[in-house]
């Protein structure tokens, strides 16, 4: 059992906070346009693993963009949900990157990507058991101790139930956060995809997450595979955010308050302007919630 740490609350990285505004995932094909046109966006996020080389153009452009915008580092390769030991070499690569860019937020997933010496490069599902929760909490605690800061944990897209579940996914995440002091990154598209695939209610899922644990929100598109036996939703980050996901998002931030909100697109990456237009759609929601809060007075947790 890990001890409760004091990583939540005041961050030593408050100098470069990621604001409760809309941001987009930074793609190499947009580096030069962003540096030249400095579009009005709250922040950028990158996959940490794409910047784990020593130098070269990725760092050159990311540094230039980091000088203009707050940054969030989003890890996809740490495998916090592995039964095996934490990949400390990978944590140290992440630590170097954090020292280099001083990101406002650092996040990872409720998932495993490693088994033995093999990195599977996909966010594989963690059984919702007490044993897995203990292991995940130990790895999150160890990571936060090595990094000396809080990380956020994101809910993955899930395609199948794993027999023997002892709690719901929101219960797992909330207990993890309360035990380790980590925050949560709620991917509303993943909530929609997982709940649709598992025959559950996305609204109930989101209701299970207390506002104070939510530090960031992700939005993305997904694909729908129509099968004779029904449809499977596949999280492919390859298209615009769907209206049903946007509806869930609007309801969610009305309850929890404005949060940094990312538009993710990793396949079929469009022109920068198209991603900015999607970010503006989220920004209007955030502004609306903020204005509403100002009229009604301070929100309670």
């Amino acid at each position: 059992m890990t001890q409760i740490r004091s990583y939540s609350g005041a961050s030593p990285h408050a100098l470069n906070p990621v604001p409760a505004d809309a941001g987009i995932g930074l793609k190499p094909q947009h580096y030069l346009e962003i540096i030249a046109t400095k579009p009005k966006l709250g922040w950028f996020e990158v996959h940490a693993e794409n910047y784990m080389g020593a130098g070269g153009p990725p760092h050159r452009y990311l540094s230039a963009i980091r000088d203009l915008y707050p940054l969030s580092l989003h890890g996809v390769g740490l495998s916090l949900g592995s039964a095996g030991p934490l990949d400390r070499a990978h944590v140290l690569r992440l630590k170097d990157l954090i020292a280099r860019y001083e990101p406002g937020l650092v996040s990872e997933h409720l998932a495993w990507t490693r088994h033995g010496a093999t990195h599977f490069n996909d966010l594989l599902p963690v059984p919702l058991t007490h044993e897995a929760l203990d292991i995940m909490a130990a790895h999150v605690g160890e990571t936060q101790d090595l990094l000396g800061r809080q990380i956020l944990i994101e809910n993955p897209s899930v395609y199948a139930d794993i027999a023997g579940a002892e709690m719901s996914e929101p219960e797992f995440l909330v207990t993890l956060a309360r035990r380790t002091g980590c925050g949560l990154l709620v991917d509303v598209n993943n909530v929609h995809v997982s709940c649709s695939n598992l025959g559950k209610s996305a609204t109930d899922w989101l209701e299970g997450i207390p506002a104070d644990l939510v530090h960031e929100v992700h939005l993305a598109g997904h694909a729908v595979e129509e099968l004779e036996s029904g449809k499977l939703l596949i999280d492919d980050h390859g298209s615009a955010v769907r209206d049903e996901v946007f509806g869930l998002y609007r309801d969610f931030i009305e309850r929890v308050g404005p949060r940094p909100t990312l538009i993710e697109r990793d396949k079929n990456v469009p022109e920068l302007g198209e991603l900015i237009a999607e970010a503006m759609r989220a920004q209007r929601c955030l502004d609306c919630v903020r204005n509403f809060d100002m009229v009604l007075g301070q929100r309670h947790g």
Binding site: E49, H59, S82, A83, A117, A163, S229
Partner: protein, 256 residues
């Protein structure tokens, strides 16, 4: 009683790798897409993302063999060539050897070396940054002074020798809208690959100059490394060093 996490992951990993049936603990409600379809999403994500990564790393090889062949070969390579690190920077280091020994490619013996060049290109791309040494440093020094200098090679510098004209095969397949024929009987290549600034550069050098740089990389000073050069060219060492410095080969030089 829930299955232990380590057993679950061992069974899941095995089923991903072997293409066998989904592990027994994977479940689906009746009347919804079956377990096999659901597990296939994970299996496909793993393999498609890694094949995409190899495709991104080896665009010249892909153009040479065609996209469908490339993806099928990459899928076979994954049976023994899964990544080990949590970042894919550096992934694919076993692919050139796989191409060398892949029977359907026996009549294209140069493909492995094209892949090696693409790997070195990526290594140079991601290498640490350093300001190249000013070539004028060598213009101000006499031969004896230069002979005892030991340079720091640029961190992006890579050396490569091939029996095949890989530089031109690589160039036309990476850059030309229509691939140009390459004279396969014109001899091999001795190359340096480096990135002094933003762009990765590839230069053909005489083989003795590659040997000279190899000696420097192993710690020789300029005088010792010059033994690799033809005797007649030793007098021209300052000029040669200026020429190499202009390409960005050196990051510093100090006498010791």
């Amino acid at each position: 009683m829930a299955e232990r996490l380590s057993d679950f992951q061992a069974a899941f990993a095995e089923a991903i790798s072997t293409g066998g049936a989904a592990p027994g603990c994977i479940a689906a409600l009746p009347g919804t897409p079956p377990v096999a379809k659901r597990f296939d999403v994970y299996r496909n994500n793993v393999h498609a993302s890694l094949i995409d990564a190899l495709e991104a790393a080896f665009p010249a090889v892909e153009r040479l063999v065609g996209r469908d062949f490339f993806r099928a070969a990459a899928r076979l390579h994954l049976e023994s060539g899964m990544p080990e690190r949590g970042t894919l920077i550096g992934f694919g280091s076993g692919f050139p050897h796989f191409l060398d020994s892949f029977p359907p490619l026996r009549s294209f013996p140069y493909l492995g070396d094209v892949a090696r060049l693409e790997l070195l290109w990526l290594q140079a791309y991601h290498a640490a940054d350093a300001a190249p040494l000013d070539p004028a440093v060598f213009a101000r020094m006499g031969r004896d002074e230069i002979a005892v200098l030991r340079p720091v090679l640029h961190p992006s510098l890579r050396l490569f020798s091939s029996r095949y004209p890989v530089a031109e095969i690589w160039r036309t397949n990476r850059e030309d809208d229509e691939v140009k024929p390459v004279d396969m009987h014109g001899g091999g290549d001795a190359l340096i690959i480096l990135r002094p600034e933003t762009h990765v550069l590839i230069y053909k050098l005489p083989p003795q100059q590659i040997a000279f740089l190899r000696a420097l990389r192993e710690g020789a000073n300029f005088g010792e490394a010059a033994l690799a050069l033809p005797p007649a060219s030793i007098a021209g060492l300052p000029a040669l060093l200026q020429e190499l410095a202009r390409k960005g080969v050196f990051a510093a030089a100090a006498s010791q």
